[in-house]
Amino acid sequence: MPDTARRPVFEPSAPNPYLPQVATVLEVIQETHNIKSFRLRLDDEQAWAKFSFEPGQLGQLSLFGVGESTFVINSSPTRKDYLQFSVMRAGEVTSALHGLLPGDKIGLRAPLGNSFPYKELKGKNLVFIGGGIGMAPMRTLLLYMLDNRTDYGDITLLYGARSPQDFSYAEDREDWLKRKDMRTVLTIDSPAEGWEHRVGLIPNVLTELKPSPENTVAVTCGPPIMIRFTLQALEKLGFVPEQIITTLEKRMKCGIGICGRCNIGEKYVCVDGPVFTYAQLKSMVNEL
């Protein structure tokens, strides 16, 4: 009998990819006027013990009754007291997430997507260039590298925001500025009273810092306009597209490459991303 109805196999015991795990909010940190970070932990002890992820991977946060939204897990897999997500208030779900208090229940589907090529980056110098909320996806990789410091070469962080009040991660920043094993440069768009760091747009400050492209990889995240000029600045400094890594954000629903909305040609940001090299972006259809 010819096999004309090759049905896909259904395993009743297979996990339901849409069923979030229940987590509890441990701590809420007001980062800026419109960004909050949430630290959470899965309620199921066994699942929590087994939970693992790689730097750069995504999580879908669920507020039941409101919906789901996708964020990079911005804590490091090396520090597993909690998972941290930073949320900028923009739409329905993010606004509702901002109302969460410690002890509240939330749903989590994670980890999703690919990750930063942190293994391949061993032995390289790193330049992190983050603008505003763009620091969030890079934070996980930076923390991972600081916790495995000897595996990596020089680490430079250029972190910019509109004003001194628009920086997140105050505790981290203090540490990063103090550390001798990394160089941290902060910049704001226009002068502000009491500001002791740089003033200037990120691409301009980057050009002044003049990082060498030699054995170096640049990781950059931020608003589209900043990315556009940062890429230009990096290329002028001699970085080739293969040496530049970024993350993409797209509207996502399923997070597992089915529902269709985050595609760029045949690539799905939720599965093939969120991490892409600039070389990969250049090879994809031009629909960002």
Binding site: T4, F64, G65, F116, L231, L248, R251, I258, L288
Partner: protein
């Protein structure tokens, strides 16, 4: 096809469907609505199937419902912690086995397009809701006796009597139907006292019905190179604007399509309880890719039409290394309020990609070659890093979100 077939007289058809309804939820195409309007839709009614008109909608809703609950949630005061609420999540009970009688063969082939997507792409988990229903659905198609002017199954590897994806093929002959089993599930449903053994004559009658139907198909098309042709046209905004000029940005094409599978996930809550729904969405809707920031990567209808056609004939076959994501049912043409013709867009795209001497359409017999194997992804040389999984191809300016 030389399998032992069965025969059912037309007058007995409803009896057999009623018998099947004891074991399955039986869906049939049924005429519904007013005499001068109305439609032929799939309903869970095991009687009087409309077999002379092509169903207005595809059969996909049987396995991929228009809207279905993914889970239900309930918040209750936590007895252990004052002021806190506990959260309960429930996955709805699965529905029972389905059987569709009387779908056209193209609708069955549509499920073969959906299957690899819902089985899980690139090591992702499969979609348990789809897979459960899919594995429990028996498909009994009726061979088409005539093609419509909008039919183009032969462009994409199908035919009026295609058996692909079927459990049973029913062919209308004389005063009834020849029923041919194609799978063990098909054999099982044909195990009924109401069915007679089919003889050689009936088999021959069916064969001539298939041949007659083939002859009613319009000119075929050589789809070779569609994948590359659409890729090459990606940045040709003028082409897509002209083709999309009449588009309404509605969801007729996607919602009637047997192979469109995009969905939305939304929560509906009343007080402390509610449901998370998965419902059909359409890449033709302007809000589909709208981001909270206000940015929309597919702002205009030209970009959306390009995505729909690109997905069917370029992205999907490249990603799944398989057939086109189109079975040529022609519903997107037939029911489009603007009568936008996907065949015309494809023909123009192919013509633009071929040397001027080549004709975009041939009247040759309906042979359709499988989509050309895409270029091998050659990683760029001296590539210090690659995000995983890696891939690199055509070059172009890219910005970032």
């Amino acid at each position: 096809m030389d399998m032992q077939g069965k025969f059912i007289p037309r007058a007995q058809l409803d009896d057999w469907l009623a018998e099947l309804a004891a074991r399955f939820r039986v869906w049939t195409p049924r005429r519904a609505g007013q005499e001068d309007s109305g439609a032929v839709v799939y309903l869970p009614e095991a009687r009087q199937p409309e077999l002379n008109r092509k169903p207005t909608e595809s059969a996909k809703r049987v396995i991929f419902p228009r809207s279905e609950p993914l889970l239900r949630f309930l918040r209750k005061p936590d007895p252990d912690q004052t002021g806190q609420k506990s959260l309960e999540l429930q996955v709805p009970d699965a529905d029972g086995p389905n059987l569709v009688f009387g779908l056209p063969p193209c609708d069955a082939r549509g499920f073969l397009v959906l299957d690899p997507v819902y089985a899980g792409v690139k090591g992702q988990a499969g979609d348990s809701y789809y897979l459960r229903r899919r594995s429990q659905t028996v498909l009994i198609a009726r061979a088409c006796s005539r093609a419509l002017t909008t039919c183009f199954c032969h462009w994409v590897g199908g035919s009026p009597s295609s058996t692909e994806g079927l459990d049973v093929l029913a062919t209308e002959i004389q005063e009834g139907f020849l029923l041919q089993p194609l799978t063990p599930q098909g054999e099982e449903v044909l195990d009924s006292k109401l069915l007679l053994s089919a003889g050689k004559e009936q088999m021959e009658a069916a064969q001539s019905a298939w041949q007659a139907a083939e002859k009613t198909l319009g000119p075929g098309a050589d789809m070779q190179g569609a994948q590359e042709a659409l890729r090459a046209l990606f940045d040709n905004a003028a082409f897509w604007q002209a083709e999309a000029a009449s588009c309404l940005s509605c969801g007729v094409c996607t919602h009637l399509c047997p192979t469109c599978y995009c969905f939305n996930i939304t929560d509906e809550a009343v007080g402390e309880k509610g449901v998370r729904l998965r419902s059909w969405d359409a890449c033709m809707f302007s809000l589909y890719t709208q981001e909270a920031s206000g940015h929309n990567p597919r702002q205009d209808k030209a970009a959306r039409l390009k995505n729909r056609i690109g997905h069917k004939f370029s992205y999907y076959p490249e990603l799944y290394q398989t057939r086109n994501a189109c079975v040529g049912c022609g519903r997107c043409i037939k029911s489009c309020p603007s009568r936008l013709d996907i065949r015309a867009v494809l023909t123009k795209a192919l013509a633009l990609s071929r040397p001027a001497a080549g004709k975009p359409e041939t009247t040759a017999p309906a042979t359709v070659r499988p989509a050309a194997k895409p270029k091998v992804n050659k990683p760029a040389t001296s590539k210090p890093v690659a995000a995983k999984p890696g891939a690199a191809k055509r070059g172009k300016e890219a910005s970032h979100a």
